[in-house]
Amino acid sequence: MMNRYLISMFIDDELGLDDKIAFVRNVHEHEQYKNETVELLEQEKILRSDVMEPFPQPEIIRKKRKVIRLFRPAAFVAAAAVLVMFALLFLKGPVEQTMIPYRFVIYQPDVARAEITGSFTDWNSVLMQKVGSSGYWAITLDIPRGEHRFTYILEGEKRIPDPTIMTRERDDFGGENSILSLTRET
């Protein structure tokens, strides 16, 4: 007897070995069973596709790193020269804090103005740029490593934290700030 539940078990990777034998037999022997399987698999592709518009994760724009192989004499000399330069800089004064270009992105298709404010802007508002007609607003800011707090401001008044960053804390205005941690790995 045909067991139709095996089709869903097949889709959901729930078949044991005996079930697999029965399922393959059913597919081979019954045209209707095969069609139902294929139709439900096609439907499953739709059901399991992304529910939401893809939301770009804030990304770090990295400069391309050149691989320096120490066994190459030229590369070795270059590396030594860089070390000397660093040493000279260090002797002259404190090394400047490394700044990392960080791209902030938020999806807000229905607003006319989006700004960002945070500890890295001394809590001054900085206007974000609209990304074509995609509904996204973005800005790339150079910020130092470490922990930062920030929030987006919509239409000049509504403050919203970054929906892609889980760590948040209450601010003094009854809203929330996102906490961005820029470590060595990020």
């Binding site: 139709r4 089709i7 729930e14 939401m52 889980m166």
Partner: protein, 157 residues
């Protein structure tokens, strides 16, 4: 912290999709997902990474929310709330709005188990534990629900 982050990143989208299929409401889904992770890490975080537990927490929040809403406003049935939202949610993919609307036509328990199965790496056993039924029952219901949804989607075309 890294553990926390990787678990959050691995399950955020899946849990969000589950709650979206259940509610069709973007803002509500965001709140429930946020609350669920917070509750999970506050109370159960030390016991390893247990996605079935995370879904159970989210589901409890969801049902609590609906229960309170029903008590407060008799007019707002779950169906009303579900059906008026999907088209308004700009973040939902245009192609998926039809699916969300079709989910709204399923019975609550059907929507529940199918959403759970679709949302990630939950086995039938996990789903059975979450909804408090037997694995055998899930096997039967999940297939019936898929066929029912197929019919609804075909009728809507």
């Amino acid at each position: 912290m890294d553990d926390y982050k990787s678990f959050y990143q691995a399950w955020f989208d899946k849990l969000f999709s589950y709650v979206m299929r259940m509610t069709g409401d973007y803002d509500l889904s965001g709140d429930i997902v946020q609350e669920s992770f917070t509750r999970y890490f506050q109370h159960y975080g030390r016991d390893g990474r247990n996605q079935a537990l995370l879904y159970t927490i989210a589901r409890n929040f969801l049902y609590d929310h609906w229960r309170k809403l029903k008590h407060r406003e008799a007019v707002d049935t779950v169906d009303d709330i579900y059906s008026r939202n999907p088209e308004d949610v700009v973040m939902v993919r245009e192609e998926y709005k039809r699916v969300i609307a079709a989910f709204g036509k399923l019975e609550d328990h059907e929507r529940d188990i199918l959403s759970l199965v679709l949302s990630g790496d939950l086995s039938y056993r996990d789903v059975a534990t979450i909804v408090g039924t037997s694995e055998a029952n899930i096997k039967v219901k999940i297939h019936r629900t898929r066929l029912k949804l197929k019919k609804i989607l075909q009728e809507d075309q």
